[in-house]
C-alpha cells in the first residue's frame, strides 16, 4: 500500500471520529441508558469510551502512516551547516 493510500485511510479514521463526536442522534439515550459503574451517565461514559477509542485510533494511525525517518536521513539532521536557510 502506498503512503497516499494509507493516508486516505487516516483521513477516513479522522472523519469517523468527528462523526462519533457529533453523534446528535444518540443524545436521546442520555436519559435512557443505565449509569455505568453506578455513577457515570451516558453523556459522560460515552466520552470515556471515546477516549479509549481515540487511543486505539492513534495506535492505528501511528502503525499505518507514521514512519520513522530512515537512518541516513537522520544523519543529515545533524548537519548544522544547513541550519535555518
Amino acid at each position: 500500500m502506498t503512503f497516499k493510500t494509507r493516508f486516505i485511510v487516516v483521513i477516513l479514521i479522522v472523519a469517523v471520529m468527528f462523526i462519533l463526536h457529533n453523534s446528535f442522534w444518540l443524545w436521546d439515550l442520555d436519559s435512557q441508558v443505565p449509569l455505568l459503574f453506578g455513577f457515570m451517565p451516558f453523556a459522560y461514559s460515552y466520552y470515556v469510551g471515546y477516549a479509549l477509542l481515540s487511543l486505539l485510533a492513534m495506535k492505528v494511525i501511528i502503525d499505518l502512516a507514521w514512519p520513522d525517518p530512515p537512518e541516513d536521513v537522520t544523519e543529515q539532521f545533524t548537519d548544522k551547516e544547513h541550519s535555518k536557510q
Binding site: 463526536h21 457529533n22 446528535f24 449509569l35 514512519p67
Partner: protein, 492 residues
C-alpha cells in the same frame, strides 16, 4: 486556615521548584538552542508532560468545573470531547512534519518553519505578528484567571495583586535561569502532581458526599436535566459542532506547544506522546466535570461567575484544611505550568525572530536577550493583569479562534507542494480580518449562518489558500524540493 503542615507543604513545593531552576541552570549550555529548545533532546516523558502541563490552564479545574455545574455532564463532551482525539492527532499531522524540518534545517519556531518553507520573510513576519497578537492577551488572561483562583482558594488571604505577583515571580525563578529545561522539568513535577492529586481530591470529595453512586443518584432525583445534553440551549448541535473548531485544533498553533514538539529527541518520543495524550486529557477534564456536576447538588444555587468557585467551595465545605492547601498547590501548579511556557515562548519569538531582523546577534547574546525579554514581558503582563484593559480582554475572548484559523495555512504548507507564499499570505490575513469583524460585531450575525465565527473563518482560510495559490505562480521547484524532497524520503 493554613496550619504548620500546610505551610510546610507549600515550602517544600517552592523549594523543589527553586532547586529545579538552580540545577537546570547549572547543566544548561550557554546557547540559544539549549536555552529555548533544551538542545532538542527531550525524551517521551518530558515532551508528554511539557505538552500536557502547558495545555492545562486554570480553566480546566476552575472554569470547566463551573461550566459543568451549570450545564451538566454534557460539558465534558462539549469542551474536551473532540480534543481528546484531534489534539494528539495534530501532533502527528502538523507536529511530526514540522519536527522533521526543524531537525533538518535548524528551525526553532513557526515563523522560521513556515517562512522557510516559502522562503518568505513576509510569511515569517506574519506568523510572528499573529502569534504574539493572540498569545499576549491569552497570557494575561491566564494570569488573571490563575490569580483569581489563587485568591479564591485562600479565601482572600492572598489578595489578587499578590496572587499575580506570586504566580509570575515563582515562574521566573526557574524559567529565567534554566529556560526550556527549567519549564519542562517543573512540568514533569507539576503535571504529575496535579494529575495524581486531582484523582485523590475527587475521591475525597466523593467520600465526603456519600460515595460515587450516592451523589449520582441524588443528581438523578434532584436535577435529572444534568444528564441530558438535549435540554441545554448552550449545547445546541450548531454550537457543539462549531466549538470543535475552537480549542481542540488551536493547541498545535500555540507557540509554547509547537516549540516543545520541535524539542523532541526522536520520532518515537512524539509517537508515544500522541498515543497516550487522549487518556491524560480525558482524566483531568473528567475529574473537573464530575466535581462541577456533583457541586450542583451539594452546593446548589450558584449563579454565573459564582459557579466558577465550585471546586474551592467543595473543598472548603466538605474537606479538611489539609485539602485546602493541596488544592492551593494544584492551582499554583496548573497556572504556573502554562504561564511559564507562554512567557518563554513570547521571549523566544522576539529573540529568535524579531531581533535578528534588526541586528545580528550571537547565540550567547540571544540567551542574554531572551532573559531580558522574559523579565520585560513578565512585568508588562503583571501590569496589564492588574489594570485589565477591555481591549486586551476582548482580543483574548477570541484568541483561541485566531489560533485555529491559522491552522489551514500550517497544514497546507506541509502537505501541498503547489501552495505558494501569495496563498499563505492571503489565507493568514483575510480570515483574521473577518474573524475580528464577526467577533467585534461589525458584521451582522446572520452572515455566519448561525455558526460561531471561527467556523466560517476557518473555511475562508482554506478557500483563500487554495484559490490564491492556484491563481498565482507555482513556487520554484528547488524551493518545493527543500521541503517535499525531505518528506518524500520519509513518507514512502
Amino acid at each position: 486556615m493554613i496550619n504548620a503542615i500546610g505551610i510546610s507543604i507549600l515550602l517544600v513545593y517552592m523549594i523543589i521548584l527553586i532547586a529545579i531552576g538552580v540545577y537546570g541552570a547549572k547543566v544548561s549550555l550557554k546557547t540559544s538552542e539549549d536555552y529555548f529548545l533544551a538542545s532538542r533532546n527531550l525524551g517521551s516523558i518530558a515532551v508528554f508532560m511539557a505538552l500536557f502541563a502547558s495545555n492545562i490552564t486554570a480553566f480546566t479545574i476552575i472554569g470547566h468545573a463551573g461550566f459543568s455545574y451549570e450545564i451538566g455532564y454534557g460539558a465534558y463532551g462539549y469542551v474536551i470531547g473532540w480534543s481528546i482525539f484531534i489534539t494528539p492527532f495534530t501532533y502527528y499531522l502538523v507536529g511530526y512534519r514540522s519536527w522533521l524540518l526543524g531537525k533538518r534545517y535548524g528551525y526553532a519556531t513557526q515563523p522560521q518553519v513556515f517562512g522557510g518553507i516559502f522562503n518568505s520573510k513576509l510569511i515569517s513576519l506574519l506568523f510572528l505578528i499573529l502569534l504574539l497578537y493572540y498569545t499576549l492577551p491569552y497570557l494575561v488572561v491566564s494570569i488573571i484567571g490563575g490569580s483569581l483562583a489563587l485568591s479564591t482558594v485562600t479565601e482572600g488571604l492572598v489578595p489578587y495583586w499578590l496572587s499575580a505577583l506570586i504566580i509570575i515571580g515563582v515562574s521566573l525563578i526557574y524559567t529565567l535561569p534554566a529556560g526550556m529545561r527549567g519549564t519542562v522539568w517543573t512540568d514533569i513535577f507539576q503535571g504529575t502532581l496535579f494529575l495524581v492529586v486531582a484523582i485523590f481530591l475527587l475521591s475525597a470529595v466523593a467520600r465526603a458526599l456519600g460515595g460515587f453512586s450516592e451523589i449520582t443518584h441524588q443528581i438523578v432525583l434532584d436535577n435529572p436535566a444534568m444528564l441530558e445534553r438535549g435540554v441545554s440551549p448552550e449545547l445546541a448541535p450548531i454550537n457543539w459542532f462549531s466549538y470543535a473548531f475552537i480549542n481542540s485544533i488551536a493547541v498545535i498553533v500555540f507557540p509554547q506547544i509547537y516549540t516543545r514538539i520541535l524539542a523532541a529527541r526522536s520520532s518515537i518520543n512524539l509517537k508515544r506522546v500522541s498515543l497516550y495524550y487522549p487518556l491524560a486529557l480525558a482524566v483531568i477534564f473528567g475529574v473537573s466535570t464530575l466535581m462541577g456536576v456533583w457541586g450542583s447538588v451539594a452546593i446548589p444555587g450558584l449563579v454565573g461567575k459564582e459557579a466558577d468557585n465550585i471546586v474551592p467551595l467543595l473543598i472548603h465545605q466538605f474537606l479538611s484544611p489539609f485539602w485546602m492547601v493541596v488544592g492551593l498547590v494544584i492551582v499554583l501548579a496548573i497556572v504556573k505550568s502554562s504561564i511559564d511556557s507562554q512567557l518563554l515562548a513570547v521571549a523566544h519569538l522576539l529573540t529568535d525572530d524579531l531581533f535578528p531582523r534588526l541586528k545580528k546577534i550571537t547565540s550567547q547574546q540571544a540567551v542574554f536577550w531572551g532573559r531580558i525579554m522574559l523579565l520585560v514581558f513578565a512585568a508588562i503582563a503583571y501590569y496589564v493583569a492588574l489594570i485589565q484593559p477591555a481591549a486586551i480582554l476582548s482580543i483574548a475572548g477570541f484568541a483561541f479562534s485566531g489560533f485555529s484559523v491559522m491552522l489551514p495555512v500550517m497544514i497546507g504548507s506541509l502537505y501541498w507542494s503547489r501552495a505558494n507564499k501569495y496563498g499563505a499570505t492571503a489565507a493568514l490575513v483575510f480570515p483574521a480580518i473577518m474573524l475580528h469583524l464577526w467577533y467585534l460585531r461589525i458584521l451582522p450575525q446572520w452572515t455566519t449562518f448561525g455558526f460561531m465565527p471561527v467556523f466560517p473563518s476557518f473555511v475562508l482560510a482554506i478557500i483563500t489558500f487554495v484559490v490564491v495559490s492556484f491563481l498565482t505562480p507555482a513556487p520554484p521547484p528547488d524551493q518545493s524540493k527543500k521541503t517535499f524532497g525531505l518528506f518524500d524520503r520519509v513518507f514512502k
